[in-house]
């Protein structure tokens, strides 16, 4: 058996006296498609922030691809191959949509010792990722000219552009139409088939169920279920957490 791509051990995070994450253990295998669900405020985004270095967890250890990442800055983790989208989109608002995608290409992909994209390759990749999320026609627009939904797509495309080993999508599909949700799920599955491990955080259950090979449920900062999606969803404890 090979080592998991992501190993989270006893991860804990507090905001003042409030326990946002309480002893999370989680292994994610290379190539896995993991769904992460939980009611609002259960700590899903906080977990992403701790994994990616946006927030610092007080307790616990995170290993990525065999490297302990505790103490690494967010950009160093991105360089190792983690990428995430923010739940509330955070585009670079003085750069055009296409330029937003240049940033991870310049600073993450090109920073790898074995890659050096030429200017035209960078241009091509920007457009390729924009095409994947159907934003090509907005390439030259500024982020303020995008709708919320388009902003989410840009957020996702920018994470994909970092050419990650692990992609974490934090509620990227809120507000999308059913057919768009289907498109994005299909896209994520295609990316996964190219070898990218994906953690999908989503409230839209149809998307989660069609995407996930494994499902993890977070409630009040605790992991309460982890396993086969069909089993997890029928778990009485999970049902209780969702129904109140």
């Amino acid at each position: 058996m090979t080592d998991p791509l992501l190993q989270v051990e006893n991860l804990g995070k507090r905001f003042g006296g409030f326990v946002a994450l309480d002893g999370i253990n989680l292994d994610v295998a290379n190539g896995e498609r993991l769904g992460l669900i939980g009611p609002n405020g259960s700590g899903k985004s906080t977990l992403v922030n701790c994994l990616c270095g946006t927030l610092h967890n007080e307790t616990g250890a995170v290993r990525f691809n065999g490297t302990p990442v505790n103490g690494l800055l967010a950009h160093q983790r991105t360089h190792l191959g983690m990428a995430r989208s923010f739940q509330l989109p955070r585009p670079f608002h003085t750069l055009t949509v296409a330029e937003n995608l240049r940033v991870p290409l310049l600073y993450t992909v090109n920073a790898r010792p074995d890659t050096s994209l030429s200017e035209s390759e960078i241009e091509d990749r920007c457009h390729e990722f924009l095409r994947l999320v159907s934003l090509e026609h907005k390439a030259r627009k500024m982020p303020r000219d995008l709708t919320q939904v388009e902003m989410r797509k840009l957020e996702l495309a920018r994470a994909m552009a970092a050419d990650p080993k692990l992609l974490i999508a934090d509620e990227s599909m809120a507000g999308l139409s059913q057919s768009e949700v289907k498109d994005i799920v299909a896209l994520l599955i295609r990316l996964n088939e190219r070898g990218i491990t994906i953690i999908l955080i989503e409230h839209i259950m149809s998307a989660v169920m069609s995407f996930s090979q494994r499902l993890v449920v977070l409630v009040s900062g605790k992991k309460i279920a982890d396993g086969n999606p069909d089993d997890v969803i029928r778990d009485p404890e999970v049902e209780r957490a969702y129904l109140g």
Partner: protein, 345 residues
Amino acid sequence: MRNWQFFLAALAVSGLAYLGTRLIGNDYVYFAGYVVLQFVVLATAWNILGGYCGYVNFGSAAFFAIGAYSTVALHKFPQLSARYLPETLNSVVEFIFPLSIPVMIVIGGAIAGLVGLGTGYLTLRLRGVFFAIATLALAVVLQTLIVNWDYVGGSRGAYIIRPNTTPYFDINYIEYLFIIMLLLAVIAITVARSIERSQLGYGFATIRDDELAAEATGVPTLRLKLIATTLSGAFMGMAGAPFPFYIGYLEPSSAFGLAYAVNAIAMPMIGGTTSWVGPLLGAILLGTLQQVASVTISSAVSLLIVGLLLVFFVIIAPNGIIGLWQDYFPRKEAPARENSKAEAT
């Protein structure tokens, strides 16, 4: 246009400007022009950190003064060495000194750049108004140090006798200082422009827009901030290095003058902070306006004008003259950076 092409073009333009001043044939042009050019360098330097990265520096006067006082220190060094150093060492000093102005600019720039690096390091975790306050505090601390440092004149100030002419060209010294500042402005603007169109420029823009998102996409924001504080500080120091020779008598209150802190902020803000054009435009407009106002009215009034203009622009046109221009003549699409294609390194 590539960087070296831009540099040559800027040299050509400044050469023409210089020829123009020769036609006027009055030294007053050089006295006034020097100040305007000094502000071009100062504003361009401020904008590298303030405009490109979004970190507002209120302590520009400190970096300017570091450059000026490093020149004073270097200028007085032979006296010191004659008194305290052994004969052999002193003869070496006498051989090297007095240093030429360009050399003193390089040294002053290096020292101010180091102080910029240190400032950046100490304020790495500070953002927004806290960063601005820290830079203001730096200026206060440095001024206190200089006031109490006798070697550079302390609170009494220091006299620097400006030579009448230069050893190399048969021109008035003030004209020589003007030419040097003209070249420095060309260099500063070329550097600023090349940053804008480089990977570094994208990194700076992401820091200005959203540091968390910048880190998440792989931008080493702390390192980039240090690069920006160093570069910005260095150019401010370079702008200040020739100043003692211009003014003849340097005292802390003039080197740390309010005019530098205010103008360094006002000129880019009024011109527009997103590109090198803004600080250049702002410095030429405001600098000239102030020269005219201080001759015709008084220098206090000239600073008042700057203050009022700054308030006006911050409220009415936060993107400066360039922003106004773009609003009136919008391009069909947002600016593409196609020309960076040829310049990628």
